[in-house]
């Protein structure tokens, strides 16, 4: 109808779902609604349909779990009987309680969202860009690094702009390069728990290391007691031969005690002064910097600081992993802001990135950049991620395969499984790289990101302009052809299978 056509032309971006065009309907009917974790841009792994969230490299976490389970298993099997008979049956009970607490807090630390900040929507990013350009005045090829200064409790704090997440990071937040997320109140990335430690899981992490120190000391003490008591009866060497498991336990506990108790002590200090590992290492609030330097976040006394860190309110997760992707949200700017990053980091060709994958992705990026997308911000994520997912084969279990390409290539070792040190903190060569790498590698990423900002920006229409509905069908079919849910499912299955195998140990 004539009038119907004219209204369709005049409708720019509608909020409500219009009657679907013939091209759209078949696509929508075929694919089920996706949950947000499936298109999460960070380099995390999700299990149990988004309920569990971990970092990409989880090998060391399994090692931690195995060490704890095996040591405690040996303790309960071989030493507890003797101790229960000779001393008191309360010993295994206390041991069991400690063990359960350790496992509970470990799983809670590893599986929960550390306080990831969701990335900016394209509209927000465009708005920020405009504000920054206005402030800077020039739009040179390499604009200066973007920072904002804010005065908190009398201290000047610099807020840095995160090029990956396109936000100004709140104070105390930091971008974890391993997980490729900005995390609130970022402490450090702990390979032993297989996750970042941030605002939402710091208390669990602290309770984990505290209870683990008690457990380690407990087992160490009672295994020694067992050997001594036994050797009084049958001699030292016979006692050792009698329970070889005890020897193993002593060795494990001996080495663990030093690192874990040390780490607990360190974190107790951090909590009482309300600092993060990140801040302590950088010496942000150290009086050595200047006489007037003090921690603006501290409450003044140790007790309040401890209570705030451990018993304070627990904010809910901001990333809404299990929510469904809404495709109806109105959008102003085409999602060009997400593209340059992928385009630029594709060209880095890091050793982790498969060459074919990168080339394919770059081709896709250029294709997408030349086609104005009416897709809303959430569903734009699969547009960016899908070619990598589709191209990759089950070997890479990462959901956001832009990940390997976006990882900062400068001196990033493969995770810390290779390091011999036992504790999170003592591996000081580890933390500066993983926890806050930006000091060193940020400028490179900034430059590259900016280098490519211009290209896609020139191509689609400027943010102010509103698009007609006609390319909608086209972009849907294009998306459909790239998106391969089947391969994602198989990757997911592999990861879950790995977890199930472990639990059967």
């Amino acid at each position: 109808m004539h009038l119907g056509e004219s209204t369709r032309e005049c409708e720019y971006s509608q909020i409500s779902t219009r009657s679907s065009t013939p091209m759209e309907t078949p696509y929508k009917k075929k694919t089920p609604k996706k949950r947000k974790w499936e298109t999460f841009p960070g380099r995390n792994r999700f299990y149990c349909d988004g309920r569990i969230m971990m970092a990409k490299q989880t090998g060391v976490f399994y090692l931690t779990l195995v060490l704890i389970l095996v040591t405690c298993g040996l303790f309960f099997t071989f030493d507890c009987w003797f101790l229960a008979e000779q001393l008191t049956p309360i010993i295994p009970v206390i041991g069991a309680v400690l063990f359960l607490f350790v496992i509970g807090t470990l799983l809670r630390t590893s599986f929960s969202d550390p306080g990831v900040l969701p990335r900016a929507t394209p509209d927000e990013a465009a708005d920020l860009e405009r504000q920054i350009d206005v402030a800077n005045g020039s739009t040179g090829y390499r604009p200066p690094p973007r920072t904002k200064e804010v005065v908190i409790n009398g201290q000047t704090v610099k807020l840095k702009y995160c090029f990956t997440c396109k936000i100004f990071r709140p104070p105390r937040a930091s971008h974890c390069s391993l997980c490729d997320n900005c995390v609130e109140r970022f402490d450090h990335h702990c390979p032993w728990v297989g996750n970042c430690v941030g605002k939402r899981n710091y208390r669990f992490f602290y309770m984990f290391i505290l209870s683990l120190s008690f457990l380690t000391v407990f087992i160490f003490a009672f295994v020694i007691t067992h050997i001594i008591l036994n050797s009084q009866r049958i001699g030292f060497l016979s006692a050792l031969k009698d329970s070889p498991a005890s020897v193993l336990e002593v060795v494990v506990c001996f080495f663990s005690v030093w690192s874990i108790v040390g780490l607990s002590g360190f974190h107790t200090y951090l909590i009482s002064s309300n600092q993060t590992t990140n801040e302590d290492i950088k010496g942000s609030w150290s009086s050595k910097r200047s006489k007037d330097n003090y921690n603006p976040y501290s409450y003044g006394n140790i007790f309040t600081n401890c209570c705030a860190a451990l018993c304070g309110p627990l904010p809910p997760s901001l990333i809404d992993r299990r929510g469904f992707i809404q495709s109806d949200a109105p959008q102003l700017a085409p999602p060009t802001n997400g593209l340059p990053m992928y385009g630029s980091t594709q060209s880095q060709q890091s050793h982790k990135c498969d060459q074919d994958q990168c080339i394919q992705s770059t081709k896709f990026v250029l294709q997408v950049a030349t086609t104005p997308l009416l897709q809303q911000q959430q569903s734009s994520e699969p547009v960016i991620l899908s070619p990598e997912n589709g191209a990759s084969l089950p070997g890479r279990a990462s959901l956001a395969l832009g990940g390997p390409c976006t990882s900062l290539p400068l001196g990033q070792p493969t995770p810390p499984a290779s390091t011999p040190s036992l504790s999170c903190h003592e591996a000081t060569d580890l933390l500066p790289i993983h926890g806050h790498p930006h000091n060193h590698s940020h400028p490179l990423q900034e430059q590259l990101a900016h280098h490519h900002f211009l290209t896609p920006e020139e191509v689609p229409s400027p943010p102010g302009m509103l698009h007609c509905g006609s390319p909608l069908g086209h972009s849907h079919t294009m998306q459909g052809s790239f998106y391969n849910p089947a391969s994602q499912d198989s990757l997911h299955e592999d990861s879950v299978r790995g977890l199930v195998k472990l639990s059967s140990v």
Binding site: D123, D127, F168, A308, C311, G312, L314
Partner: protein, 185 residues
């Protein structure tokens, strides 16, 4: 005015676009009777973002500075009032006091299993906030062609204010529609 608006709008049930008589200005821009009406009839013009205010640390607070783009749409005091109320809600959620300690200790003692049955105080306050925002949208912002988005949906980074314009007058320039808006008021 109301009847003309209904003629030119969506029927939400059938989700069909209605025919707009060409050349007929259905309504002065920005004057809608309810949220649903606005959502179905209006087209998005621009979005204004109210950023976080970090001057008091990491607590959740939004800047009360009035964005200039909204000068023509809404009175300064109304928006400031909304932002201040939101800030007070967030402060209440993040308050460290007796109740939060009790909740924390109870949770720790029960190995956090208690949160399977019970909501944390923060979550309760967030629900209150979304209810408040919904109410504000319906009463104050929708009639002015604005829509507030709950900050939780934007990762607590910004308070997003979407500015809408009436579909019928979408072709005309904002300045002309605004002059009719002021005359209509």
């Amino acid at each position: 005015m109301l009847s003309s608006m209904k003629e030119g709008c969506h029927d939400p049930k059938t989700k069909q676009t209605q025919l707009l008589k060409p050349g007929r200005r259905t309504k002065a821009s920005g004057v809608f009777h309810n949220l649903q009406e606005m959502q179905h009839c209006a087209s998005l013009v621009t979005k204004v973002f109210i950023q976080r205010d970090y001057s008091e640390g990491t607590v959740c607070r939004f800047q009360t500075k009035f964005p200039s783009e909204l000068n023509i749409r809404i009175e300064r005091t109304l928006l400031e009032e909304t932002v201040k109320t939101l800030n007070s809600y967030y402060m209440e959620a993040e308050k460290i006091g007796g109740q939060s300690y009790m909740e924390g200790c109870l949770a720790c003692a029960t190995a956090y299993i208690v949160f399977l049955c019970m909501e944390t105080r923060y979550e309760k306050v967030l629900k209150k906030i979304s209810g408040y925002i919904q109410e504000q949208n319906e009463k104050i912002y929708a009639p002015r062609g604005l829509l507030l988005t709950d900050p939780v949906e934007r990762g607590m980074r910004v308070l997003e204010v979407s500015i809408f314009e009436d579909q019928g007058s979408a072709g005309s320039s904002p300045s002309s529609t605004l002059s009719s808006d002021s005359s209509a008021r």
